[in-house]
Every structure is written in C-alpha cells, then in structure tokens.
C-alpha cells in the first residue's frame, strides 16, 4: 500500500496526466473506444484487437525488463521498479469469467469506456454507471465478509 506523501512531487500529477493522455489517445486511435469494434473481434470478424493488446504489452514488457536493470528506484516517488505480479487464486478465474461475460455482452472495458466518453460517446455513460455499480456491489459484499472474517490475510 502506498504512503500518503508519495505523490507530492510537483511533476507527479502532470506526468500522470500526460501518461493518461497518451494512453487514452492510443485507445481511441486503435478504435477500442468503440464497442462495435471490440464485438467484431469477439465475433471473429476483425482480429485487430490482438495487435492492440500485444502491441501495448510488448512496449510495457520491454520497459519492465530493462528499466529495473538500469535504475533501482523511480525518481518521483522513490518506489522500486518492479513488475506487475499478482498472486494466483480462484478469484482470478471467477472474476475473469464474470468480467468476460460483461465484456462479451457490452464490448467495453474500463479504460476503453473512459476513452469512449472522450470521443463523444455519451451513450457509454450506461456502461460507466454499471461499472461503478458493479464495483460498489462487490466492495460492499467483500468489505462485509472481510470484517466478519477475523482472518485479516487479504489476498491482494
């Protein structure tokens, strides 16, 4: 978990904003902000999405491989450069399956939904309202089971 003062570097917020700008531009340019294009992929009518996901993963993969070998810690936060490694348990399969049904039904995922708003698609607010409602539901449910469950060993 992060410390409260970690984000106080004066360039932290501007860097995150510019990173988000490039990220969102890429989602729009790759047409992922259009649910129709994602549904075309899932229905095997246009396999372009493979190039988006793996194109992006290759770029991050190179950075996650090289940067920790050059420097130990990030200049703005002092955080160690690490890879994104999460523990595996059955939640990955359960959550992934629920996510898959939702993604296959709607053609939209969180990042693409924010970008979709940016390309003027106000109809996507239906999906955004749904995502917040879903995140809230699981949060209430898991907060309750966590609080009653004395075992504080949170998996993530």
């Amino acid at each position: 978990m992060s410390s409260p003062d970690r984000t106080e570097h004066p360039l932290f917020a501007p860097l995150v904003l510019v990173g988000g700008l490039i990220f969102g531009f890429g989602l729009a340019y790759s047409q992922m902000a259009r649910p129709e294009v994602v549904l075309d992929f899932l229905q095997f009518e246009d396999f372009g999405l493979v190039f988006v996901m793996f194109g992006a993963a290759i770029v991050t993969g190179i950075a996650f491989f090289l940067v920790p070998r050059i420097r130990d810690r990030a200049p703005m936060t002092g955080d160690a450069y690490e890879r994104r490694l999460k523990s595996f348990d059955r939640n990955v399969l359960i959550g992934g399956s629920i996510f898959g049904v939702g993604w296959g039904l709607s053609g939209i995922c969180p990042g693409a939904a924010y970008a979709s708003l940016g390309i003027g698609n106000v109809t996507i607010l239906w999906a955004l309202v749904g995502m917040f409602a879903g995140a809230y539901l699981q949060g209430v449910w898991r907060s309750r089971s966590q609080d009653t469950d004395a075992t504080a060993a949170s998996a993530d």
Binding site: M1, T7, L11, F12, L15, L17, V18, G19, G20, I22, F23, G24, F25, A28, M32, R34, E36, L39, D40, L42, E45, D46, F47, G48, M53, F54, G55, A57, A63, F64, A74, A80, E82, R83, R84, K86, N91, I94, G95, G96, S97, F99, V101, W103, G104, S106, G107, I108, P110, G111, S116, G118, I119, T123, A127, F132, A135, G139, R142, Q146
Partner: protein, 172 residues
C-alpha cells in the same frame, strides 16, 4: 479514419464461429499504432513513478470519496492521481476525436447491454484482480502467469458470450 460500420448490419447473417475470409478487413496499422501509444502512456508513468497503472482500480478508488466501505478505504492515498489518470484518458481520446474523427461518435450498442455488461465488468475486474489494461497489457508485459491465466479466462468467456448473444439475434 472513420470506421465503415456497414459490415455490422450484415453481421447477424453470418453463422457464429465462421472464419472470416479477411482477418483484418480494416488493416492492422490503426490497431498496432494505437496499441503502441497505450503501452507508451503506461511506460511514461512507470518511468517517472514506478507505478504500473491499470484502468479499473479507478472505480474503487473513486468510490472511496463517497463510501466508507473498508474495501475502498485502502485506495484513499491513490484516489487523487487515479482521477488525474482517468481525466487524461478522456482528454487523450478527445484529442483523437477532434483531430482524426471529425467530431463526436456514438455507439449503436443497446443501453441494456452496456448497463448490464458494465455491472458485470465492474464486479469481475475487481474480484479478478485486473482488467484488459492491468492484466492484458501490464500483467502480460510482466510475464505474470496470474495475468496470462486471467487474460485467457476473460478472452475465452467473452468470445463465447459475444457469439451466443449474436446467435440469439441481439444486434447491435
């Protein structure tokens, strides 16, 4: 750059699981170039901060502004910059819309599909520890076995779901 959406109108005529004669009817450059930008945006934030940003944690971190649930409270220190990241995503897409798209674009996918799908995406991404950007881009880029299993799971389920929905005649 405006996508020609007319093939969508004939999509229901196709049998499910039919292999298309042309796997990339819109070429690959828009997908590959867009994907490179997505990766570069994540890498820029990583270089400066060491943070590996996914898109879906924003949902829970933002809920911590209005809810005291313990699940959301743990994201309190992260919630401000995640709002900045998401505002960046919206603005970056808006730059594309102004410069390439020539104005607003609206989906024809029915609201009930977006709403119900959104609820399931919101539940699933938080239980499953990541979404298409967290698992799909950053996790796969980290060669994380958890993320690779996660991606295979949600891709397979999404493909089956979309094929079944299309076979039931739901369009768009």
């Amino acid at each position: 750059m405006l996508a020609d959406l007319s093939p969508l109108l004939s999509a229901t005529d196709l049998a499910p699981l039919a292999i298309p004669t042309e796997p990339f009817p819109n070429g690959i450059s828009r997908y590959a170039i867009g994907g490179l930008f997505v990766g570069l945006g994540a890498v820029l934030i990583y270089l400066g901060t060491g943070i590996i940003a996914g898109a879906s944690t924003f949902l829970e971190s933002t809920l911590s502004y209005v809810s005291d649930q313990s699940r959301f409270a743990k994201y309190r220190y992260d919630r401000d910059w995640r709002v900045v990241f998401t505002v960046g995503i919206v603005l970056g897409a808006a730059v594309y819309a102004v410069l390439w798209q020539g104005g607003a674009w609206m989906t024809d996918v029915q609201p009930w599909r977006l709403l119900l799908g959104g609820v399931l995406v919101g539940i699933g991404t938080r239980i499953g520890k990541g979404c298409t950007s967290g698992h799909g881009v950053c996790g796969v880029g980290s060669a994380s076995k958890t993320s690779i299993v996660g991606v295979i799971t949600f891709l397979a389920v999404a493909i089956v779901t979309a094929q079944v929905v299309a076979a039931l005649g739901v369009s768009p």
